[in-house]
């Protein structure tokens, strides 16, 4: 897993990671350009106009229109950035949810210091949950006598996904605010108790990636991690079969 990470950004392993990295490089490029230009200008002024060189300073209250150029350039760049780069990418990430049929649909329930994945199983329907049934080996409190829940798969801290199909996930939390964060997929979404928040991403690389919690959720926040294992479709089928309680 460690070859995914270097000193720069982690490896891109989801469909919109490229777009997001593109805007990161664009922004940092512009920032560097602005900083370097201003640094040169400042150093020039400090040397040219130090007291030894210019004993009397230029007295003027005039602010020529040309002094507004940096602000105008900044505003134009930002307006272009928002309407031509920002809104399209943001709408793509948040609004273009793939259809249920062509994607792997599952629920992820966050709780204090573990991620519980809840697959609907072959019947595609999620079993009912009853909070009073929650115990160590039934973290979601799945109700036995509900037929849909028989083939549901519950796996803790281990998210299996097939390559080539987008994942459509419904995030919910049992207790406090967590944040589902997979650096390689460039996805981060707070998981708020009392809300079911849909997210989606499409893995583009087979391998093992890391889930982290990005929102302070108590004393175990630092060890609340999980693994995303992206497999070929066949391996994913075998895995689901092996996990289904027949």
């Amino acid at each position: 897993m460690n070859q995914n990470y270097g000193w720069g950004l982690p490896v891109q392993a989801s469909s919109y990671a490229g777009k997001l990295d593109g805007s990161l490089f664009l922004l940092h490029g512009v920032m560097l350009l602005i900083f370097v230009l201003w640094a040169f200008y400042m150093i020039f002024c400090l040397i040219r106009y130090r007291q030894k060189n210019s004993s009397r300073a230029l007295y003027s209250h005039r602010t020529p229109l040309s002094s507004y150029i940096p602000d105008a350039l900044m505003l134009i760049f930002e307006i272009w950035l928002i309407f031509f780069v920002g809104i399209p990418i943001w709408a793509h990430i948040r609004e273009d949810l793939p259809k249920e049929e062509t994607s792997v649909a599952l629920h992820i329930v966050a709780e204090q210091f573990a991620w519980t994945m809840h697959y609907p199983g072959l019947d595609g329907k999620f079993g009912k949950q009853n909070p009073s049934l929650i115990n160590a080996d039934n973290p979601l409190g799945l109700d036995e006598n509900d037929p849909d829940s028989l083939d549901d798969i519950v796996s803790v801290n281990e998210l299996h996904l097939p390559l080539g199909k987008p994942a459509r996930i419904l995030l919910s939390s049992k207790d406090v605010i967590h944040s589902f964060f997979v650096p390689e997929f460039r996805i981060k979404q707070d998981v708020v108790p009392g809300m079911n928040i849909p997210i989606w991403f499409e893995p583009t690389k087979i391998g093992q990636f890391e889930i982290g919690c990005a929102q302070l959720c108590g004393t175990g926040h630092y060890r609340m991690r999980g693994d995303v294992i992206v497999q070929s479709p066949e391996e994913f089928e075998n895995w689901t079969k092996s996990k289904t309680k027949s």
Binding site: N2, P10, P183
Partner: protein
């Protein structure tokens, strides 16, 4: 004015120093208290940094002396780390930088710069200091309360802050601090509106006064909303109401006995509605000080006085419409994030305008590299980095990746620490002669300056590298997660920079206290500045500041006026 009758009787020690009604003494009380809190808040960071550099190892030297709520048996435990993190943020912001920028400098120099004898309401001014003092003592006491200090960050997000221990005394202390800030801001607004010297129109007001006035308006309109949020959260904790508790919460396998129905996002909205104007409250006084020092150091009128004052007001108004850029990935509706992304990008323009005007005022200047000028000049690039790194955080696609990582921590430390704290230190060097009639030692000042700048960058620049690598914030032990391992060495570098930064503050502290008594004596206007506070003796006359209230004839920064012999012409001389 009612201050005349105060001199008639000889004041007791208590009335003169403890319950003083003189805005200068209250300013000094604020300054000493906030400097002590800044030092204490920074020492909390050294403990945290050691834990981040060498996770799980015993803290050297002071490990065994720490209370059990932070480090049982010399090794810090996660609850202790979270408590230190929350208290570091709270102390540095609400007890350190704001009281220094608004309480100390605002109280001391606002009346002087507008030629007033004192604040509009001296008694309320004294009350605001003592309520702040009680709030500070309560915050410190929270370390020794059973359950320890607050542990859910300075933002105290619900439901964690309602379910975890330590938050009740934090909220209670916050209501004190908010009341103190409100009383202070009422005083500032009425003083600036009503007690300006004759001839001191709005366009002749020094930029420091503009900054304090806009800051007071920000405090006045934003703090009560957090007061409401804090009271709601306090009741959630104490009276089992469920304003912020959604229904169906299950903690540790058992349902929580709350009626439910509340919304966790409501607290974030109420909190950030205050907290964004609050970060401008941290920044504006510093920008006012930089404007004063730059005009004085470049010996020319500041470039674009109207643009800077206008930008202050524009920032003031717009800062109430940008708060939800802290909540892009918090489950807020995407339509709102479009709106707040746009307003956030618009508010970056006045900041750019201010920095442009500061830089352009270097052109055609005659720059004297005196000590305060060094701090003001370094504010420009440092705040530049802080402001520029705000761009990817205010822009939703990049914020998805960078939110709640060390990139955010690097961004706001560059703005607050190498930005406003450096400017406030420059303010201390600049106004020390006016406050004590003596100068701080130039040599030790330069040592303090260069070491502080180097070590500050040593701590904060690697945070951007960690942020881009995806290291989340508030992690007790980053090595548990694989994606943090590559950049773990930067934590060691940052820890030693932090320790050296603490050592670099010792010359400043010694220089500060020694110079009060043994510093080189100076006359009333050592920097040959033009604003009104230099028109009275240093330290200014107790209770009435000026022999006679000055009349203002010209703008605040009339340097190098053509046809005049000396290179500065003070405001109060025709």
């Amino acid at each position: 004015m009612q201050t005349e009758h105060l001199e008639s009787h000889q004041e007791t020690f208590i009335r003169k120093w403890v319950f003083s009604l003189d805005h200068k003494t209250i300013g000094l009380q604020y300054m000493f208290t906030s400097l002590i809190f800044l030092l204490f808040g920074f020492s909390l960071v050294l403990l945290m940094r050691w834990q981040l550099a060498y996770p799980g190892s015993a803290l050297p030297l002071i490990g065994s002396y720490l209370p059990d709520s932070i480090a049982a048996g010399g090794v810090m435990h996660p609850a202790g780390y979270n408590a230190l993190g929350a208290m570091h943020g709270t102390i540095m912001i609400f007890l350190g930088v704001v009281p220094l920028g608004v309480g100390a400098f605002g109280n001391y120099f606002l009346p002087l710069q507008i030629g007033a004898r004192d604040m509009a309401f001296p008694r309320i001014n004294m009350m605001s200091y003592w309520i702040y003092f009680i709030g500070g003592v309560l915050m410190l006491a929270s370390f020794f309360v059973p359950g320890g200090a607050a542990q859910s960050g300075w933002t105290s997000y619900v439901p964690l802050s309602i379910l975890s221990p330590g938050q009740t005394i934090w909220l209670f202390a916050m209501t004190f601090l908010i009341t103190s800030s409100l009383l202070g801001s009422i005083n500032f607004i009425v003083t600036t509106l009503n007690l300006r010297a004759p001839g001191l129109t709005w366009s002749r007001l020094p930029l420091f006064v503009w900054a304090q006035f806009v800051t007071a308006l920000l405090l006045l309109f934003a703090f009560p909303v957090l007061q409401a949020g804090a009271i709601l959260q306090l009741l959630d904790r104490v009276a089992k109401t469920s304003f912020f508790i959604p229904s169906g919460l299950i903690v540790g396998g058992a349902p929580v006995e709350y009626a439910g129905g509340g919304s966790a996002l409501l607290w974030q909205h109420l909190f950030w509605f205050l907290a964004h104007p609050e970060v401008y409250v941290l920044l504006l006084p510093a920008m006012g000080i930089v404007a004063e020092i730059l005009a004085n150091g470049t010996r020319k009128p500041i470039f674009g006085y109207k643009e800077i004052a206008g930008s202050f007001c524009f920032i003031g108004v717009l800062s109430f419409m940008v708060w939800a850029h802290h909540m892009f990935v918090s489950g807020m509706k995407t339509s709102l994030s479009y709106l707040f992304m746009t307003t956030t990008m618009i508010i970056s323009v006045p900041s750019v305008a201010i920095i442009t005007c500061f830089l352009l005022s270097l052109k055609g200047a005659s720059i004297q590299f005196k000590l305060p000028m060094l701090f003001a000049l370094t504010f420009l690039p440092m705040f530049g980095i802080g402001g520029l790194t705000g761009l990817p955080l205010g822009f939703t696609p990049t914020d998805v990746y960078l939110h709640d990582t060390y990139y955010v921590i690097g961004h706001f430390h560059y703005v607050v620490v190498t930005g406003s704290l450096i400017a406030l230190m420059g303010g201390i060097y600049y106004w020390f002669p006016k406050m004590f009639g003596r100068k701080m030692n130039e040599f030790w000042g330069k040592i303090h300056f260069w070491t502080t700048i180097v070590f500050m960058n040593g701590i904060f620049f690697p945070m951007f590298i960690q942020g881009l690598a995806g290291v989340q914030r508030r992690l007790y032990d980053p090595t548990v997660q694989a994606h943090n391992l590559v950049v773990q060495p930067t934590n060691v570098l940052m820890t030693y920079s932090a320790i050296l930064l603490m050592i670099a503050q010792i010359p400043f502290i010694v220089n500060f206290f020694v110079s009060i008594f043994k510093g080189e004596k100076t006359e009333d206007n050592p920097w040959q500045a033009t604003t009104l506070e230099w028109a009275c003796p240093s330290p200014p006359l107790p209770h009435k500041n000026f022999e006679k209230i000055p009349t203002v004839y010209k703008g605040p920064y009339e340097y190098n006026v053509p046809g005049e012999s000396s290179d500065f012409s003070p405001q109060h001389l025709p």
